[in-house]
Symmetry: C2
Subunit: 130 residues, 2 copies
DNA sequence: TTGTAAATGTTATATTATTACATACCGTTA
DNA sequence: TAACGGTATGTAATAATATAACATTTACAA
């Protein structure tokens, strides 16, 4: 069983927005969308984002500076993330392949270093854009 | 044999700097370092960086917004990159494991999508920081 | 030698993210 | 319940990263 994280007010507002969007959102677009709810400053957004990333409710798509809700709803894999990104339409999907995650989690580099975390971003054209 | 890219003046100045550094450099730190050579504006730096990334002479470390010279000197793998990043000292190494690159280049997701490119960043503690 | 793609120069501005400081909230435990 | 500590919030200012728009120059193949 996972630890339950009770989201604070701002965290909940921002998580709900990103979750409903179903696609990556950028910080200032989030800010714009939550201003009517009383969140007025970038820092309020970034603080909530930091926390949500930390507890695995959302992930940052590093190559896009954007945030997407975790699509592996019940299993918080915030330390082993993989995404597919369409270079045409920018659609992003989280990849949940236990084979892939096992392979990468067990990967050891030539110096014998083992890793506690990874992030993988695949690029290509999605079904619709091909 | 690879295609030879003759670097332009700015590209060469900036590549040499990054290459000598042997570690990731940020755009504005690069700018600061090349001002004495006549490169005065951010855009001049970013244009050179874009080109160098495109031809595989450098890679962007997405999670750090920084650029490092390709360490696989002769084989330009700019479409299949993997790095190890120490979360303590920020040391970054390029991983060149043909097994890993084969595995990832051939990876197909559940929808049958195959990818033309990937970037993988591993995190952990390096030998010195452990 | 001329057409064209690539590269350069310059100014301004957009976008992304953090620092610093003050205050409020919430659960624990003395 | 009062005091404490950790977490969250509010606000203003600013730092850091990146691009737009436009003018000009260079490299080089046709």
């Amino acid at each position: 069983m996972q630890k339950q994280h009770n989201l604070s007010k701002n965290q909940k507002i921002i998580f709900d927005l990103i979750d409903k969007a179903g696609e990556p959102m950028k910080a200032y677009s989030i800010l714009f969308n939550v201003q009517k709810k009383g969140i007025k400053a970038p820092l309020q957004v970034y603080r909530a984002l930091d926390k949500l990333v930390e507890i695995g409710k959302i992930h940052k798509i590093e190559s896009r500076n954007a945030f997407i809700a975790c699509q592996n709803s019940n299993c918080q894999i915030s330390k082993a993330t993989a995404f597919s990104i369409c270079e045409n339409c920018e659609k992003v999907s989280e990849i949940s392949s236990s084979k892939l995650s096992k392979y990468l989690s067990n990967f050891v580099d030539h110096s014998g270093m083992k890793f506690s975390k990874y992030n993988l971003e695949f690029f290509g054209l999605c079904k619709n854009c091909k």
